[in-house]
Symmetry: C2
Subunit: 238 residues, 2 copies
């Protein structure tokens, strides 16, 4: 089956399509100005907030924690980290609103032009550990032109559990070689390939900040290796 005979193209979203780090930092800085919070390095804060993501969802994957959405985990973690950073004047309403910064993550400059080109040739969708409502809100807010969303809470499983990959394949016609995953995370592509999907790596060398030291290169011979969503569009002749 050729690289371009595809039923759909799906996209890891955080890091691959949207700059979650820059977006959350920008909202944090605006909130700090509004509330008169000083002396916090919001890059360090945001990295600490995000760093808890994998350990927390690993507790869900291992069964130590019952099914919990990304949104709820991030909100719980926010309370902990606000205490760790000794930030005192954020009300529950402030924290609820700040947590929704993840719903408003902004696309990288190449994302919407690239997605628009790919969408002209194939149905496109988000494929994310985010939850459905968060991804729907982000689509609307950030004008991501998805035809559909495939989210962890559709299956009550997080990547890299097989259920979310196999679930996406079933919903998209049941032929894994006709579904392409685009991601900036090598582990995600490795799992997609294990289940028979096509793979495209997009290098995002600052998605974890200016000192990023991982995910800087393709760790396997993915079907496409590029630096942008527009590069994926080029490779697909879209």
């Amino acid at each position: 089956m050729s690289l371009t005979d595809l039923a759909a193209v799906i996209f890891d979203t955080y890091g691959t399509v949207v700059d979650w780090r820059g977006s959350v930092i920008a909202e944090a800085e605006a909130l700090a100005r509004k509330k008169g919070i000083e002396g916090i390095d919001w890059g360090v804060f945001t990295d600490a907030w995000q760093a808890s993501y994998r350990p927390y969802i690993n507790e869900v994957i291992s069964g130590k924690r019952p099914w919990t959405t990304n949104d709820v985990l991030q909100r719980q973690r926010l309370d902990e980290i606000v205490a760790e950073f000794k930030i005192e004047n954020l009300s529950t309403a402030d924290r609820d609103e700040f947590n929704r910064a993840w719903h408003r993550a902004r696309p990288w400059p190449d994302s919407i032009p690239g997605l628009t080109r790919i969408k002209a040739k194939y149905p496109i969708g988000s494929f994310s550990n985010g939850n459905f409502q968060l991804l729907a809100n982000m689509a609307r807010h950030s004008k991501l032109p998805w035809d559909f969303i495939v989210s962890s809470d559709m299956f009550h499983h997080y990547k890299p559990d097989p259920e979310i990959y196999l679930g996406a394949i079933e919903l998209l016609g049941g032929e894994p070689a006709r579904v392409m995953l685009v991601a900036a995370h090598n582990y995600d592509l490795a799992n997609a390939r294990k289940h028979g999907m096509k793979t495209a790596f997009v290098r995002r060398p600052t998605m974890f900040g200016p000192n990023q030291n991982r995910e800087l290169s393709a760790e396997d011979g993915w079907d496409i290796v590029t630096d942008s969503i527009e590069g994926v569009a080029d490779a697909l002749g879209a």
Copy 2:
């Protein structure tokens, strides 16, 4: 909770948003010209094809038939009805392509303007007994500006099974009164209301053809009653 404090607005799709009947008839007539098939009333044919929908999915709902997508049921029914109408020169490839007419159903004239207005205020999605891939293809083909799709095959349940309503509510934040269903079918709204959702009825007096004798009026006091998706947008202040 007010009518307009909504987490999302979801839309029954066949009949409510797209004119499946006119679209399938147009594709049938084009196919007939191409293949030299004469003497068939394609309106009668299309009505017979669609009429099998509810009995077939009732077999799935009752457990008589295992989970089967709408796409597969319509393709099976196509073979039967082609034989009933004594149409002889349609190959398997012709039939596969003709079955995909349901993926290419065209919106009513008010649908895209109305959806675009509502999307500026709330996330919007398809909520359909169609299957995910069919709805994704339709979104792309007919430029339906969904943020997301909620389909029967996400749950392996057809409307009016509770699982698809409750599943949609869970994915959209868990507050049924903050999810509105827009539909041209009273039974769909009755079930949405039973599960606590907001309801909007759109009168589509020709969705079943020029002699339509059902679904001509609101059969209960739905939250919104109107004649178009733009009418829903008006009622929502969108």
